[in-house]
Protein backbone atom coordinates (compact mmCIF):
# COMPACT_ATOMS: atom_id res chain seq x y z
CA UNK A 1 0.00 0.00 0.00
CA UNK A 2 1.21 3.47 -0.88
CA UNK A 3 1.68 5.48 2.23
CA UNK A 4 0.31 9.01 2.00
CA UNK A 5 2.09 11.53 4.18
CA UNK A 6 0.48 14.64 5.57
CA UNK A 7 2.91 17.38 4.54
CA UNK A 8 1.44 19.69 7.16
CA UNK A 9 -2.12 20.86 7.68
CA UNK A 10 -3.37 23.59 5.37
CA UNK A 11 -6.77 24.96 4.35
CA UNK A 12 -8.05 24.25 0.84
CA UNK A 13 -9.14 27.89 0.47
CA UNK A 14 -5.48 28.86 0.72
CA UNK A 15 -4.91 26.46 -2.16
CA UNK A 16 -7.43 28.53 -4.10
CA UNK A 17 -5.60 31.71 -3.16
CA UNK A 18 -2.26 30.23 -4.24
CA UNK A 19 -3.79 29.13 -7.52
CA UNK A 20 -5.18 32.62 -8.11
CA UNK A 21 -1.76 34.14 -7.39
CA UNK A 22 -0.24 31.96 -10.08
CA UNK A 23 -3.02 32.65 -12.57
CA UNK A 24 -2.58 36.37 -11.96
CA UNK A 25 1.02 36.04 -13.06
CA UNK A 26 0.48 33.70 -15.99
CA UNK A 27 -2.92 34.41 -17.57
CA UNK A 28 -3.75 38.06 -18.37
CA UNK A 29 -7.38 37.20 -19.11
CA UNK A 30 -8.11 35.94 -15.62
CA UNK A 31 -10.10 38.41 -13.53
CA UNK A 32 -11.30 38.00 -9.98
CA UNK A 33 -14.52 39.07 -8.26
CA UNK A 34 -15.42 38.88 -4.61
CA UNK A 35 -18.42 39.81 -2.46
CA UNK A 36 -16.79 41.29 0.63
CA UNK A 37 -14.81 38.19 1.62
CA UNK A 38 -11.30 38.82 0.31
CA UNK A 39 -9.58 37.62 3.48
CA UNK A 40 -11.65 34.47 3.74
CA UNK A 41 -10.98 33.56 0.11
CA UNK A 42 -7.22 34.22 0.44
CA UNK A 43 -6.98 36.30 -2.71
CA UNK A 44 -5.01 39.21 -1.20
CA UNK A 45 -1.92 38.52 -3.31
CA UNK A 46 -3.86 38.39 -6.58
CA UNK A 47 -5.46 41.72 -5.73
CA UNK A 48 -2.19 43.32 -4.67
CA UNK A 49 -0.46 42.25 -7.87
CA UNK A 50 -3.40 42.84 -10.26
CA UNK A 51 -5.59 45.59 -8.83
CA UNK A 52 -7.08 46.44 -12.23
CA UNK A 53 -8.22 42.83 -12.66
CA UNK A 54 -10.06 42.60 -9.37
CA UNK A 55 -13.68 43.67 -8.82
CA UNK A 56 -15.01 44.14 -5.33
CA UNK A 57 -18.81 43.94 -5.66
CA UNK A 58 -19.75 44.31 -2.01
CA UNK A 59 -22.39 42.16 -0.38
CA UNK A 60 -24.27 41.60 -3.62
CA UNK A 61 -23.77 38.10 -4.93
CA UNK A 62 -26.52 38.18 -7.55
CA UNK A 63 -24.89 41.20 -9.17
CA UNK A 64 -21.50 39.47 -8.93
CA UNK A 65 -22.72 36.48 -10.97
CA UNK A 66 -24.23 38.75 -13.63
CA UNK A 67 -21.11 40.89 -13.88
CA UNK A 68 -19.00 37.74 -14.17
CA UNK A 69 -21.21 36.57 -17.06
CA UNK A 70 -20.79 39.95 -18.76
CA UNK A 71 -17.02 39.97 -18.35
CA UNK A 72 -16.75 36.81 -20.45
CA UNK A 73 -18.15 38.84 -23.37
CA UNK A 74 -14.84 40.39 -24.29
CA UNK A 75 -12.73 37.35 -23.51
CA UNK A 76 -12.16 37.61 -19.77
CA UNK A 77 -12.09 34.53 -17.54
CA UNK A 78 -13.88 35.59 -14.35
CA UNK A 79 -13.34 33.78 -11.04
CA UNK A 80 -16.33 34.80 -8.90
CA UNK A 81 -15.72 33.91 -5.30
CA UNK A 82 -17.59 33.87 -2.01
CA UNK A 83 -18.84 31.35 0.56
CA UNK A 84 -20.45 28.25 -0.98
CA UNK A 85 -23.87 29.08 0.45
CA UNK A 86 -23.92 32.52 -1.19
CA UNK A 87 -22.25 31.25 -4.37
CA UNK A 88 -24.99 28.71 -5.13
CA UNK A 89 -28.33 28.66 -3.34
CA UNK A 90 -28.57 32.41 -2.95
CA UNK A 91 -27.95 33.07 -6.64
CA UNK A 92 -29.23 29.92 -8.31
CA UNK A 93 -31.32 31.64 -10.93
CA UNK A 94 -28.55 34.09 -11.85
CA UNK A 95 -26.20 31.16 -12.37
CA UNK A 96 -28.85 29.22 -14.23
CA UNK A 97 -29.85 31.90 -16.74
CA UNK A 98 -26.91 34.29 -17.09
CA UNK A 99 -24.12 31.71 -16.77
CA UNK A 100 -25.17 28.09 -17.40
CA UNK A 101 -27.93 28.52 -19.99
CA UNK A 102 -25.95 31.34 -21.60
CA UNK A 103 -22.88 29.08 -21.74
CA UNK A 104 -20.59 31.64 -20.11
CA UNK A 105 -17.02 30.84 -19.16
CA UNK A 106 -17.41 31.75 -15.48
CA UNK A 107 -15.61 29.99 -12.64
CA UNK A 108 -17.74 29.96 -9.49
CA UNK A 109 -15.32 29.51 -6.62
CA UNK A 110 -16.89 28.59 -3.32
CA UNK A 111 -15.18 28.45 0.03
CA UNK A 112 -16.51 27.36 3.43
CA UNK A 113 -18.51 24.52 1.89
CA UNK A 114 -20.07 21.84 4.08
CA UNK A 115 -20.13 21.39 7.83
CA UNK A 116 -16.46 22.14 8.44
CA UNK A 117 -16.82 25.89 8.44
CA UNK A 118 -17.80 25.11 11.98
CA UNK A 119 -19.04 27.58 14.55
CA UNK A 120 -21.01 29.88 12.21
CA UNK A 121 -23.64 27.14 12.06
CA UNK A 122 -26.26 25.98 9.59
CA UNK A 123 -27.02 29.35 7.96
CA UNK A 124 -23.56 29.19 6.40
CA UNK A 125 -23.04 25.41 6.13
CA UNK A 126 -24.45 24.54 2.75
CA UNK A 127 -24.83 20.79 2.22
CA UNK A 128 -26.85 21.02 -0.98
CA UNK A 129 -24.49 22.89 -3.32
CA UNK A 130 -23.10 19.90 -5.23
CA UNK A 131 -26.63 18.84 -6.07
CA UNK A 132 -27.69 22.31 -7.12
CA UNK A 133 -24.69 22.78 -9.36
CA UNK A 134 -24.49 19.32 -10.91
CA UNK A 135 -28.10 19.58 -12.06
CA UNK A 136 -27.27 22.54 -14.31
CA UNK A 137 -26.62 21.38 -17.88
CA UNK A 138 -23.03 22.11 -18.92
CA UNK A 139 -21.77 22.86 -15.41
CA UNK A 140 -18.55 21.17 -14.29
CA UNK A 141 -18.41 20.40 -10.55
CA UNK A 142 -15.08 19.97 -8.76
CA UNK A 143 -14.41 19.29 -5.08
CA UNK A 144 -10.65 18.90 -4.49
CA UNK A 145 -9.33 17.19 -1.38
CA UNK A 146 -6.43 19.26 -0.06
CA UNK A 147 -4.34 22.41 -0.48
CA UNK A 148 -2.13 21.11 -3.28
CA UNK A 149 -5.02 19.73 -5.27
CA UNK A 150 -7.15 22.85 -4.83
CA UNK A 151 -4.29 24.97 -6.14
CA UNK A 152 -3.87 22.65 -9.12
CA UNK A 153 -7.62 22.60 -9.81
CA UNK A 154 -7.83 26.40 -9.67
CA UNK A 155 -5.12 26.67 -12.29
CA UNK A 156 -6.61 23.92 -14.44
CA UNK A 157 -10.12 25.34 -14.67
CA UNK A 158 -8.82 28.54 -16.28
CA UNK A 159 -8.00 26.44 -19.35
CA UNK A 160 -11.41 24.77 -19.44
CA UNK A 161 -13.90 26.59 -21.67
CA UNK A 162 -17.23 26.61 -19.84
CA UNK A 163 -18.82 27.21 -16.46
CA UNK A 164 -17.21 25.49 -13.48
CA UNK A 165 -18.21 25.15 -9.84
CA UNK A 166 -15.10 24.77 -7.67
CA UNK A 167 -15.84 23.84 -4.06
CA UNK A 168 -13.42 24.04 -1.17
CA UNK A 169 -13.36 24.64 2.57
CA UNK A 170 -12.29 26.58 5.60
CA UNK A 171 -10.43 24.32 8.06
CA UNK A 172 -6.81 23.28 7.97
CA UNK A 173 -6.68 19.63 6.91
CA UNK A 174 -4.06 17.11 5.86
CA UNK A 175 -2.14 18.16 2.74
CA UNK A 176 -1.05 14.89 1.18
CA UNK A 177 -1.27 15.04 -2.62
CA UNK A 178 1.81 15.98 -4.65
CA UNK A 179 3.02 19.57 -4.88
CA UNK A 180 2.58 21.04 -8.37
CA UNK A 181 0.50 18.07 -9.54
CA UNK A 182 -1.23 18.21 -12.90
CA UNK A 183 -4.98 18.37 -12.45
CA UNK A 184 -7.12 16.64 -15.03
CA UNK A 185 -10.82 17.55 -14.89
CA UNK A 186 -13.03 14.46 -14.82
CA UNK A 187 -10.22 11.98 -14.20
CA UNK A 188 -10.62 10.04 -10.95
CA UNK A 189 -7.41 9.35 -9.08
CA UNK A 190 -6.58 5.89 -7.80
CA UNK A 191 -4.99 6.39 -4.39
CA UNK A 192 -4.84 2.82 -3.21
CA UNK A 193 -5.67 -0.41 -4.95
CA UNK A 194 -7.67 -3.19 -3.29
CA UNK A 195 -9.99 -6.07 -4.12
CA UNK A 196 -12.67 -6.33 -1.39
CA UNK A 197 -14.31 -2.90 -1.39
CA UNK A 198 -14.18 0.42 -3.23
CA UNK A 199 -14.28 3.72 -1.38
CA UNK A 200 -15.15 6.68 -3.59
CA UNK A 201 -14.47 9.89 -1.68
CA UNK A 202 -14.48 13.58 -2.51
CA UNK A 203 -13.16 16.73 -0.82
CA UNK A 204 -12.21 16.57 2.84
CA UNK A 205 -13.44 12.96 3.04
CA UNK A 206 -10.61 11.66 0.84
CA UNK A 207 -8.07 11.84 3.67
CA UNK A 208 -10.60 10.27 6.02
CA UNK A 209 -11.03 7.45 3.50
CA UNK A 210 -7.27 6.83 3.51
CA UNK A 211 -7.26 6.71 7.30
CA UNK A 212 -10.16 4.27 7.23
CA UNK A 213 -8.43 2.13 4.60
CA UNK A 214 -5.34 1.79 6.75
CA UNK A 215 -7.40 0.33 9.61
CA UNK A 216 -9.38 -1.89 7.26
CA UNK A 217 -6.20 -3.28 5.72
CA UNK A 218 -5.01 -4.11 9.23
CA UNK A 219 -8.22 -6.13 9.62
CA UNK A 220 -7.41 -7.96 6.40
CA UNK A 221 -9.86 -6.09 4.19
CA UNK A 222 -8.31 -5.17 0.85
CA UNK A 223 -9.58 -1.62 0.29
CA UNK A 224 -9.50 0.42 -2.89
CA UNK A 225 -9.60 4.20 -2.44
CA UNK A 226 -10.38 6.53 -5.33
CA UNK A 227 -10.38 10.31 -5.17
CA UNK A 228 -13.38 11.63 -7.09
CA UNK A 229 -12.35 15.26 -7.26
CA UNK A 230 -14.66 15.86 -10.22
CA UNK A 231 -18.29 15.04 -9.53
CA UNK A 232 -19.38 16.21 -12.95
CA UNK A 233 -18.38 14.95 -15.43
CA UNK A 234 -18.08 11.80 -13.36
CA UNK A 235 -15.39 9.26 -14.28
CA UNK A 236 -17.87 6.44 -14.94
CA UNK A 237 -15.17 4.24 -16.42
CA UNK A 238 -12.90 4.32 -13.37
CA UNK A 239 -15.83 3.75 -11.03
CA UNK A 240 -17.18 0.78 -13.01
CA UNK A 241 -13.75 -0.80 -13.39
CA UNK A 242 -13.23 -0.66 -9.65
CA UNK A 243 -16.68 -1.87 -8.60
CA UNK A 244 -16.60 -4.72 -11.13
CA UNK A 245 -13.45 -5.85 -9.33
CA UNK A 246 -14.54 -5.31 -5.69
CA UNK A 247 -18.30 -5.86 -5.98
CA UNK A 248 -19.32 -3.14 -3.53
CA UNK A 249 -18.81 0.55 -2.85
CA UNK A 250 -18.89 3.20 -0.15
CA UNK A 251 -19.24 6.82 -1.19
CA UNK A 252 -18.06 9.55 1.16
CA UNK A 253 -18.73 13.28 0.96
CA UNK A 254 -19.33 16.36 3.08
CA UNK A 255 -22.78 16.93 1.61
CA UNK A 256 -26.37 15.82 1.94
CA UNK A 257 -26.84 12.21 0.82
CA UNK A 258 -29.53 13.60 -1.49
CA UNK A 259 -28.01 15.17 -4.57
CA UNK A 260 -24.36 14.53 -3.91
CA UNK A 261 -21.59 12.26 -5.16
CA UNK A 262 -23.31 9.17 -3.76
CA UNK A 263 -26.40 9.63 -5.90
CA UNK A 264 -24.29 10.25 -8.99
CA UNK A 265 -22.44 6.99 -8.34
CA UNK A 266 -25.71 5.15 -7.70
CA UNK A 267 -26.99 6.29 -11.11
CA UNK A 268 -23.90 4.90 -12.84
CA UNK A 269 -24.11 1.60 -10.98
CA UNK A 270 -27.85 1.19 -11.45
CA UNK A 271 -27.44 1.77 -15.16
CA UNK A 272 -24.38 -0.38 -15.83
CA UNK A 273 -23.47 -2.64 -12.94
CA UNK A 274 -25.80 -2.81 -9.91
CA UNK A 275 -23.84 -3.37 -6.69
CA UNK A 276 -24.34 -2.78 -2.96
CA UNK A 277 -23.57 0.83 -1.97
CA UNK A 278 -23.41 2.63 1.38
CA UNK A 279 -23.50 6.40 1.71
CA UNK A 280 -21.28 8.35 4.09
CA UNK A 281 -22.99 11.74 3.93
CA UNK A 282 -25.29 13.99 5.93
CA UNK A 283 -28.69 12.34 6.32
CA UNK A 284 -30.92 15.07 4.92
CA UNK A 285 -30.47 17.54 7.75
CA UNK A 286 -29.07 20.99 8.34
CA UNK A 287 -25.84 21.41 10.28
CA UNK A 288 -25.22 23.31 13.51
CA UNK A 289 -22.49 25.16 15.41
CA UNK A 290 -19.47 23.28 16.70
CA UNK A 291 -15.84 22.66 15.86
CA UNK A 292 -15.20 20.99 12.51
CA UNK A 293 -13.94 17.88 14.31
CA UNK A 294 -17.05 17.66 16.52
CA UNK A 295 -19.37 18.16 13.56
CA UNK A 296 -17.73 15.52 11.41
CA UNK A 297 -17.99 13.12 14.35
CA UNK A 298 -21.61 13.94 15.14
CA UNK A 299 -22.81 13.81 11.53
CA UNK A 300 -20.87 10.65 10.71
CA UNK A 301 -18.40 12.05 8.21
CA UNK A 302 -15.04 10.74 9.43
CA UNK A 303 -12.78 7.71 9.08
CA UNK A 304 -14.74 5.76 11.71
CA UNK A 305 -18.01 6.33 9.83
CA UNK A 306 -16.35 5.17 6.62
CA UNK A 307 -15.01 2.03 8.30
CA UNK A 308 -18.46 1.21 9.65
CA UNK A 309 -19.97 1.74 6.21
CA UNK A 310 -17.41 -0.61 4.66
CA UNK A 311 -18.26 -3.35 7.18
CA UNK A 312 -21.96 -2.87 6.39
CA UNK A 313 -21.53 -2.99 2.64
CA UNK A 314 -19.30 -6.09 2.78
CA UNK A 315 -22.15 -7.98 4.45
CA UNK A 316 -24.42 -7.08 1.53
CA UNK A 317 -22.12 -8.51 -1.15
Amino acid sequence: MTKYIDQGKKDTRSGYGAGMTELGRTNPNVVSLCADLIGSLKIDTFIEENPERFFQVGIAEANMMGIAAGLTIGGKIPFASTFANFATGRVYDQIRQSIAYSGKNVKICASHAGLTLGEDGATHQILEDIGLMKMLPGMTVINPCDFNQTKAATIAIADHDGPVYLRFGRPKVANFTPVDQKFEIGKALMLQEGTDVTILATGHLVWQALLAAENLENQGISTEVINIHTIKPLDDEAILASVKKTGCVVTAEEHNHLGGLGESVARVLATHHPAPQEFVAVQDSFGESGTPYQLMEKYGLNNKAIEAAVLRVLKRK
Partner: protein, 281 residues
Protein backbone atom coordinates in the same frame (compact mmCIF):
# COMPACT_ATOMS: atom_id res chain seq x y z
CA UNK B 1 -27.33 56.69 -42.21
CA UNK B 2 -30.97 56.15 -43.21
CA UNK B 3 -33.24 59.21 -43.26
CA UNK B 4 -36.08 59.60 -40.82
CA UNK B 5 -38.76 58.44 -43.28
CA UNK B 6 -36.82 55.24 -43.95
CA UNK B 7 -36.58 54.61 -40.23
CA UNK B 8 -40.28 55.34 -39.78
CA UNK B 9 -41.07 52.82 -42.52
CA UNK B 10 -38.94 50.30 -40.69
CA UNK B 11 -40.83 51.00 -37.45
CA UNK B 12 -44.12 50.26 -39.18
CA UNK B 13 -42.78 47.09 -40.75
CA UNK B 14 -41.36 45.88 -37.42
CA UNK B 15 -44.79 46.42 -35.86
CA UNK B 16 -46.30 44.18 -38.51
CA UNK B 17 -43.62 41.57 -37.85
CA UNK B 18 -44.36 41.62 -34.11
CA UNK B 19 -48.11 41.25 -34.62
CA UNK B 20 -47.75 38.46 -37.17
CA UNK B 21 -45.19 36.57 -35.09
CA UNK B 22 -47.29 36.44 -31.93
CA UNK B 23 -50.49 35.82 -33.85
CA UNK B 24 -49.06 32.81 -35.65
CA UNK B 25 -48.16 30.94 -32.46
CA UNK B 26 -50.94 32.47 -30.37
CA UNK B 27 -48.43 33.44 -27.70
CA UNK B 28 -45.73 35.97 -26.94
CA UNK B 29 -45.59 39.57 -25.76
CA UNK B 30 -46.84 42.21 -28.20
CA UNK B 31 -47.53 45.08 -25.75
CA UNK B 32 -44.00 45.91 -24.61
CA UNK B 33 -42.61 45.02 -28.02
CA UNK B 34 -44.80 47.59 -29.78
CA UNK B 35 -43.98 50.18 -27.13
CA UNK B 36 -40.23 49.80 -27.72
CA UNK B 37 -40.24 49.58 -31.51
CA UNK B 38 -38.92 53.11 -32.07
CA UNK B 39 -36.18 52.51 -29.50
CA UNK B 40 -34.94 49.31 -31.16
CA UNK B 41 -35.12 50.72 -34.67
CA UNK B 42 -33.21 53.85 -33.63
CA UNK B 43 -30.64 51.92 -31.61
CA UNK B 44 -29.73 49.38 -34.28
CA UNK B 45 -29.99 51.64 -37.32
CA UNK B 46 -28.90 55.07 -36.12
CA UNK B 47 -27.25 55.03 -32.71
CA UNK B 48 -24.98 52.03 -32.25
CA UNK B 49 -21.60 51.61 -33.91
CA UNK B 50 -21.82 48.03 -35.18
CA UNK B 51 -19.47 45.79 -37.10
CA UNK B 52 -20.83 43.72 -39.94
CA UNK B 53 -21.42 40.14 -38.88
CA UNK B 54 -21.58 38.83 -35.35
CA UNK B 55 -19.09 37.48 -32.87
CA UNK B 56 -19.74 36.94 -29.19
CA UNK B 57 -16.93 39.12 -27.85
CA UNK B 58 -17.92 42.19 -29.85
CA UNK B 59 -14.53 43.84 -29.71
CA UNK B 60 -14.52 47.25 -31.37
CA UNK B 61 -18.28 47.73 -31.53
CA UNK B 62 -21.14 48.85 -29.32
CA UNK B 63 -23.10 46.14 -27.52
CA UNK B 64 -26.74 45.85 -26.50
CA UNK B 65 -28.34 43.73 -23.79
CA UNK B 66 -32.08 43.18 -23.48
CA UNK B 67 -32.92 42.54 -19.85
CA UNK B 68 -36.70 42.24 -20.22
CA UNK B 69 -36.39 39.32 -22.58
CA UNK B 70 -40.11 38.80 -23.04
CA UNK B 71 -40.17 41.56 -25.65
CA UNK B 72 -38.22 39.22 -27.91
CA UNK B 73 -40.52 39.83 -30.93
CA UNK B 74 -39.27 43.39 -31.43
CA UNK B 75 -35.67 42.31 -30.77
CA UNK B 76 -35.85 39.46 -33.31
CA UNK B 77 -37.54 41.57 -35.97
CA UNK B 78 -35.02 44.41 -35.68
CA UNK B 79 -32.03 42.02 -35.61
CA UNK B 80 -33.31 40.19 -38.70
CA UNK B 81 -33.99 43.39 -40.58
CA UNK B 82 -30.52 44.67 -39.62
CA UNK B 83 -29.09 41.56 -41.27
CA UNK B 84 -28.11 39.40 -38.30
CA UNK B 85 -30.12 36.44 -39.62
CA UNK B 86 -32.58 35.74 -42.48
CA UNK B 87 -35.86 37.66 -42.17
CA UNK B 88 -37.73 34.47 -43.11
CA UNK B 89 -36.59 32.94 -39.86
CA UNK B 90 -39.13 35.17 -38.05
CA UNK B 91 -41.57 32.49 -39.26
CA UNK B 92 -40.11 30.09 -36.71
CA UNK B 93 -40.73 32.24 -33.61
CA UNK B 94 -41.57 30.01 -30.62
CA UNK B 95 -41.81 26.87 -32.76
CA UNK B 96 -40.06 23.60 -31.96
CA UNK B 97 -36.41 23.44 -33.14
CA UNK B 98 -36.24 27.22 -33.63
CA UNK B 99 -33.40 29.57 -32.78
CA UNK B 100 -36.10 32.15 -31.96
CA UNK B 101 -37.03 30.89 -28.52
CA UNK B 102 -39.84 32.49 -26.53
CA UNK B 103 -37.19 34.43 -24.65
CA UNK B 104 -33.83 35.29 -26.24
CA UNK B 105 -30.99 32.87 -25.70
CA UNK B 106 -27.44 32.23 -26.83
CA UNK B 107 -28.15 28.52 -26.50
CA UNK B 108 -29.34 28.06 -30.07
CA UNK B 109 -26.60 30.27 -31.50
CA UNK B 110 -28.83 33.05 -32.84
CA UNK B 111 -26.58 35.88 -34.08
CA UNK B 112 -27.09 39.15 -32.20
CA UNK B 113 -27.89 37.59 -28.82
CA UNK B 114 -25.15 37.68 -26.18
CA UNK B 115 -26.93 36.43 -23.07
CA UNK B 116 -30.17 34.68 -22.19
CA UNK B 117 -32.83 36.86 -20.59
CA UNK B 118 -36.38 36.37 -19.47
CA UNK B 119 -35.99 35.74 -15.78
CA UNK B 120 -36.10 39.42 -14.92
CA UNK B 121 -33.62 41.74 -13.27
CA UNK B 122 -30.37 40.20 -14.50
CA UNK B 123 -29.49 42.22 -17.59
CA UNK B 124 -27.96 45.26 -15.96
CA UNK B 125 -25.36 43.19 -14.12
CA UNK B 126 -24.40 41.47 -17.36
CA UNK B 127 -24.19 44.79 -19.19
CA UNK B 128 -21.93 46.13 -16.44
CA UNK B 129 -19.65 43.11 -16.81
CA UNK B 130 -19.41 43.65 -20.55
CA UNK B 131 -18.70 47.35 -19.98
CA UNK B 132 -15.90 46.47 -17.54
CA UNK B 133 -14.43 44.05 -20.09
CA UNK B 134 -14.43 46.87 -22.66
CA UNK B 135 -12.49 49.07 -20.26
CA UNK B 136 -9.95 46.29 -19.58
CA UNK B 137 -9.59 45.81 -23.34
CA UNK B 138 -9.14 49.56 -23.95
CA UNK B 139 -12.17 49.44 -26.22
CA UNK B 140 -13.94 52.79 -26.01
CA UNK B 141 -17.27 51.55 -27.36
CA UNK B 142 -20.51 51.81 -25.43
CA UNK B 143 -22.69 49.15 -23.82
CA UNK B 144 -26.46 49.73 -24.06
CA UNK B 145 -29.16 47.94 -22.14
CA UNK B 146 -32.95 48.01 -21.92
CA UNK B 147 -35.04 47.24 -18.85
CA UNK B 148 -38.76 47.19 -18.19
CA UNK B 149 -39.94 49.54 -15.48
CA UNK B 150 -41.75 46.78 -13.61
CA UNK B 151 -38.50 44.83 -13.77
CA UNK B 152 -36.95 47.38 -11.41
CA UNK B 153 -38.90 45.64 -8.65
CA UNK B 154 -36.23 42.92 -8.81
CA UNK B 155 -33.62 43.66 -6.14
CA UNK B 156 -30.63 42.66 -8.24
CA UNK B 157 -31.13 45.85 -10.27
CA UNK B 158 -30.39 47.96 -7.23
CA UNK B 159 -27.21 46.02 -6.53
CA UNK B 160 -26.22 46.76 -10.12
CA UNK B 161 -27.31 50.41 -9.98
CA UNK B 162 -25.20 50.90 -6.85
CA UNK B 163 -22.20 49.17 -8.41
CA UNK B 164 -22.28 51.03 -11.74
CA UNK B 165 -22.25 54.43 -10.05
CA UNK B 166 -19.87 53.44 -7.26
CA UNK B 167 -17.33 51.95 -9.65
CA UNK B 168 -17.79 54.67 -12.33
CA UNK B 169 -18.96 52.42 -15.15
CA UNK B 170 -19.34 55.39 -17.48
CA UNK B 171 -19.44 53.45 -20.77
CA UNK B 172 -22.92 52.15 -19.99
CA UNK B 173 -26.29 53.57 -21.10
CA UNK B 174 -29.20 51.81 -19.39
CA UNK B 175 -32.64 52.69 -20.74
CA UNK B 176 -35.76 52.12 -18.67
CA UNK B 177 -38.96 51.50 -20.60
CA UNK B 178 -41.34 53.52 -18.45
CA UNK B 179 -44.66 52.28 -19.79
CA UNK B 180 -46.23 52.13 -16.34
CA UNK B 181 -47.67 48.68 -16.92
CA UNK B 182 -46.93 45.16 -15.77
CA UNK B 183 -48.78 41.85 -15.90
CA UNK B 184 -51.09 42.43 -12.95
CA UNK B 185 -51.86 46.08 -13.71
CA UNK B 186 -50.30 49.54 -13.47
CA UNK B 187 -46.85 49.61 -11.90
CA UNK B 188 -47.98 52.16 -9.33
CA UNK B 189 -50.78 49.82 -8.23
CA UNK B 190 -48.78 46.59 -8.23
CA UNK B 191 -45.64 47.94 -6.56
CA UNK B 192 -45.07 51.69 -6.78
CA UNK B 193 -41.83 52.67 -8.49
CA UNK B 194 -42.29 56.37 -7.80
CA UNK B 195 -39.88 58.74 -9.46
CA UNK B 196 -37.56 56.41 -11.37
CA UNK B 197 -35.31 59.20 -12.65
CA UNK B 198 -34.85 60.58 -9.14
CA UNK B 199 -33.99 57.14 -7.80
CA UNK B 200 -31.21 56.70 -10.35
CA UNK B 201 -29.95 60.23 -9.63
CA UNK B 202 -29.60 59.67 -5.90
CA UNK B 203 -27.71 56.46 -6.65
CA UNK B 204 -25.22 58.60 -8.58
CA UNK B 205 -26.21 58.15 -12.22
CA UNK B 206 -26.43 60.81 -14.91
CA UNK B 207 -30.11 60.67 -15.87
CA UNK B 208 -31.99 62.05 -18.83
CA UNK B 209 -35.57 61.55 -19.89
CA UNK B 210 -37.27 60.89 -23.20
CA UNK B 211 -40.79 62.21 -22.76
CA UNK B 212 -42.26 60.37 -25.71
CA UNK B 213 -40.43 57.17 -26.45
CA UNK B 214 -42.74 56.54 -29.38
CA UNK B 215 -41.58 59.64 -31.19
CA UNK B 216 -38.69 58.45 -33.31
CA UNK B 217 -36.96 61.82 -33.49
CA UNK B 218 -37.18 62.27 -29.74
CA UNK B 219 -35.72 58.81 -29.20
CA UNK B 220 -32.81 59.49 -31.55
CA UNK B 221 -32.12 62.88 -29.98
CA UNK B 222 -32.33 61.43 -26.47
CA UNK B 223 -29.99 58.53 -27.21
CA UNK B 224 -27.51 60.85 -28.95
CA UNK B 225 -27.58 63.08 -25.89
CA UNK B 226 -27.01 60.01 -23.68
CA UNK B 227 -24.05 59.01 -25.84
CA UNK B 228 -22.50 62.45 -25.40
CA UNK B 229 -22.66 62.03 -21.64
CA UNK B 230 -20.65 58.80 -21.52
CA UNK B 231 -17.02 58.80 -20.44
CA UNK B 232 -17.59 61.40 -17.76
CA UNK B 233 -17.35 59.30 -14.63
CA UNK B 234 -21.01 58.32 -14.32
CA UNK B 235 -23.20 55.61 -15.85
CA UNK B 236 -26.02 57.10 -17.92
CA UNK B 237 -29.69 56.25 -17.42
CA UNK B 238 -32.40 57.11 -19.94
CA UNK B 239 -35.90 57.06 -18.53
CA UNK B 240 -38.05 56.65 -21.61
CA UNK B 241 -41.82 56.97 -21.38
CA UNK B 242 -43.61 54.73 -23.85
CA UNK B 243 -47.10 53.53 -24.57
CA UNK B 244 -47.49 49.79 -24.35
CA UNK B 245 -49.12 48.46 -27.51
CA UNK B 246 -48.25 51.64 -29.41
CA UNK B 247 -49.47 51.78 -33.00
CA UNK B 248 -52.45 49.51 -32.48
CA UNK B 249 -55.32 51.51 -30.98
CA UNK B 250 -57.00 48.70 -29.06
CA UNK B 251 -53.72 47.54 -27.52
CA UNK B 252 -52.89 50.96 -26.05
CA UNK B 253 -53.75 52.40 -22.63
CA UNK B 254 -54.03 48.96 -21.01
CA UNK B 255 -51.84 46.21 -19.63
CA UNK B 256 -54.09 43.59 -21.23
CA UNK B 257 -51.75 42.97 -24.18
CA UNK B 258 -48.63 42.35 -22.15
CA UNK B 259 -48.57 38.67 -23.02
CA UNK B 260 -51.56 38.01 -25.27
CA UNK B 261 -51.78 37.38 -29.00
CA UNK B 262 -54.45 38.93 -31.24
CA UNK B 263 -57.20 36.81 -32.83
CA UNK B 264 -57.53 36.58 -36.61
CA UNK B 265 -59.94 39.55 -36.70
CA UNK B 266 -57.86 41.59 -34.28
CA UNK B 267 -54.74 40.93 -36.36
CA UNK B 268 -56.48 42.20 -39.45
CA UNK B 269 -57.48 45.44 -37.74
CA UNK B 270 -54.02 45.87 -36.22
CA UNK B 271 -52.28 45.33 -39.56
CA UNK B 272 -54.63 47.73 -41.31
CA UNK B 273 -53.40 50.39 -38.88
CA UNK B 274 -49.81 49.58 -39.91
CA UNK B 275 -49.68 49.17 -43.68
CA UNK B 276 -46.86 47.15 -45.20
CA UNK B 277 -43.79 49.25 -46.00
CA UNK B 278 -40.72 47.10 -46.58
CA UNK B 279 -42.38 43.76 -47.31
CA UNK B 280 -43.66 41.15 -44.88
CA UNK B 281 -41.47 38.16 -44.14
Amino acid sequence: MPNIQELQDLVTQVRRDILRMVHKVNSGHPGGSLGCTEFFVALYNEIMDLKSGFDMDGHGEDLFFLSNGHISPVFYSVLARRGYFPIDELNTFRLIDSRLQGHPTTHEGLPGIRVASGSLGQGMSVAIGAALAKKLNNDDHIVYSLHGDGELQEGQNWEAIMFAAGKKVDNLIATIDRNGQQIDGGTEDVMPLGDVAEKFKVFGWDVLEIENGNDLEQVIAGLNEAKSRTGKGKPVCVVMTTEMGNGVDFMMHTHAWHGKAPSDEQLEIALSQNPETLGDY
